[in-house]
């Protein structure tokens, strides 16, 4: 069983979404990050970009009202917001490689203190699933990761060096887990905010690298 202490997955995405700025173009990976499209952005205009060329998608379609020609990169039936456009795959990735994506939120197996991360291949696996992650990780202006603090068997996902093949090197800016918010700084991994009900000692005990901890760690900012 995975550790379900601390933040819910939706709260993890809500916290990352607070970092988005008005007008940002955002690409969400499969898994936990897809919940980011449910976040309340207030009066900020956020444009969701999908690898399959849907630019400006909105909420999930209601059951029975799905447009069978319209999915996001996670295969979810979505709706279109006013101003949406459709392009083909090469143009969608042209937007990625040429730096038009302000942030990508990705899931991960491991994030290292130097900003490397791994999310396409598990240990010992032959083959894997890259999808758009390598293009996004190499080229988005910001790379945020949303993942659980530990693996199903309780091992840290925040590590000194990735043990499994990386998706990209030195690209991660910010990590949210159910235990807190972490920033990759030039000096290493820093704990910025801590989840309610979690102690600094618990964070340290479940982190596989040195952690820069300020004297006072503020709680994770949550809406409402």
């Amino acid at each position: 069983m995975s550790d379900t202490k601390g933040l819910t997955r939706q709260q993890m995405c809500d916290r990352l979404a607070m970092e988005f700025e008005d007008g940002w173009v955002v690409n969400l990976g499969i898994g936990i990050p897809t919940l980011t499209s449910n976040c309340d952005f207030g009066d900020k205009a956020i444009i969701f970009h999908s690898e399959n060329g849907v630019v400006g998608y909105g909420a999930l379609a209601a059951p029975g009202k799905e447009d069978m020609h319209l999915v996001n990169a996670g295969g979810q039936h979505v709706t279109l917001n006013p101003g949406a456009a459709i392009v083909h795959h090469a143009d969608a990735f042209g937007m990625i490689r040429s730096g038009r994506i302000d942030v990508t939120v990705l899931g991960a197996y491991e994030v290292a203190e130097n900003g490397d991360f791994a999310n396409w291949k598990m240990a010992g696996q032959k083959g894997g699933g890259i999808g758009g992650a390598m293009d996004l990780a190499a080229c988005a202006k910001h790379v945020f990761v949303a993942m659980e603090q530990v693996t199903r068997s309780g091992r840290p996902r925040l590590v000194e060096r990735c043990a499994i093949p990386v998706t990209a090197k030195g690209v991660v800016d910010l990590v949210i887990t159910n235990y807190g918010l972490f920033e990759i700084t030039p000096k290493g991994m820093a704990l910025k905010e801590i989840a309610p009900g979690i102690s600094v000692d618990e964070v340290k005990a479940t982190t596989g690298c040195n952690l820069i901890v300020p004297r006072e760690v503020p709680p994770v900012r949550l809406r409402g």
């Binding site: 690898e51 295969g75 459709i86 795959h89 894997g128 990386v166």
Partner: protein, 257 residues
């Protein structure tokens, strides 16, 4: 303009002459624009030693379990190699026939970042033999391969990926093969068509007379399109289904067994 018709009556006729040992692109993404009918026809036709290019092996949740996908060709032992952005299942609950063949070495696979896969076919269709991309630099995929630094950043050399055949699905076509796609249906489809020597299209709406699509509204020129087949209504033709319809269908089939 040739007077030879591009319109075929059946999927079987449209794939009949495909020989062994060719490279075929299978368009679509998460079922949308996925050529399930042509894939089924190729499984029946039986060409072997195929190299199959596709985003993944199956697609997504909006085709019923028994719909034709690359998995059919794998099970029929028609596949020599796949070139994909996903060789593993995209959901933890999914199991692929392919995995068993791949792990035992009976099928080879080339795993490619999705943007690189799209661009390699775009390049083939644009007459460009190779290009440099920042994707996959510093990863296992780049080991032992040529990189080059431009403006202080390292890029990986990738070669164009030409196809012998492209199987794609479109919303509308005229008799010349000018195509329109609907919503997310475009995805890899125009790129595969441009990369291929022979493009075969399954078309959702009745095939229109030449000139019925305004030239400004054509998404892919008929220059890149060679064969057209209209998708018949279900159950003769395969169409994506809503999650609730798939569940109902599976329950019905379970009861019938």
């Amino acid at each position: 303009m040739s007077t030879k018709s591009k319109i075929f009556d059946t999927f079987a006729a449209a794939v009949a002459d495909i020989p062994d040992n060719v490279t075929i692109g299978f368009g679509g993404f998460a079922v949308v624009g996925q050529p399930a009918n042509l894939t089924g026809a190729l499984a029946a036709q039986g060409a072997k030693g195929l190299t199959c290019v596709s985003n993944g092996l199956r697609g997504g949740a909006t085709l019923p379990e028994d719909a034709p996908t690359l998995e059919w060709l794998v099970r029929n032992e028609q596949v020599k190699k796949v070139i994909c952005a996903f060789t593993a299942p995209t959901r933890a609950s999914q199991r692929l026939v392919f995995t068993e063949y791949y792990e035992s070495g009976r099928i080879d696979a080339e795993l490619v970042p999705q943007g690189t896969l799209a661009e390699r076919m775009r390049a083939a269709g644009a007459g460009i033999p190779a290009f440099y991309t920042p994707a996959a630099v510093g990863t296992e995929l780049a080991e032992g391969r040529e990189t080059r630094v431009f403006n202080g950043r390292e890029y990986l050399l990738e070669e164009a990926l030409p196809l012998d055949y492209a199987f794609i699905r479109a919303y509308q076509a005229d008799a010349f093969g000018n195509l329109r796609f609907r919503r997310a249906q475009r995805n890899f489809n125009p790129l595969m068509a441009m990369a291929a020597r022979v493009t075969i299209v399954e078309v959702e709406e009745d095939i229109l007379p030449m000139g019925a699509i305004d030239p400004d509204d054509v998404h892919l020129s008929g220059i890149f399109v060679h064969r057209l087949v209209k998708v018949p209504p279900a159950p003769e033709g395969w169409w994506p289904m809503r999650p609730a319809e798939i569940a109902a269908r599976a329950a019905q089939q379970g009861a019938a067994r």
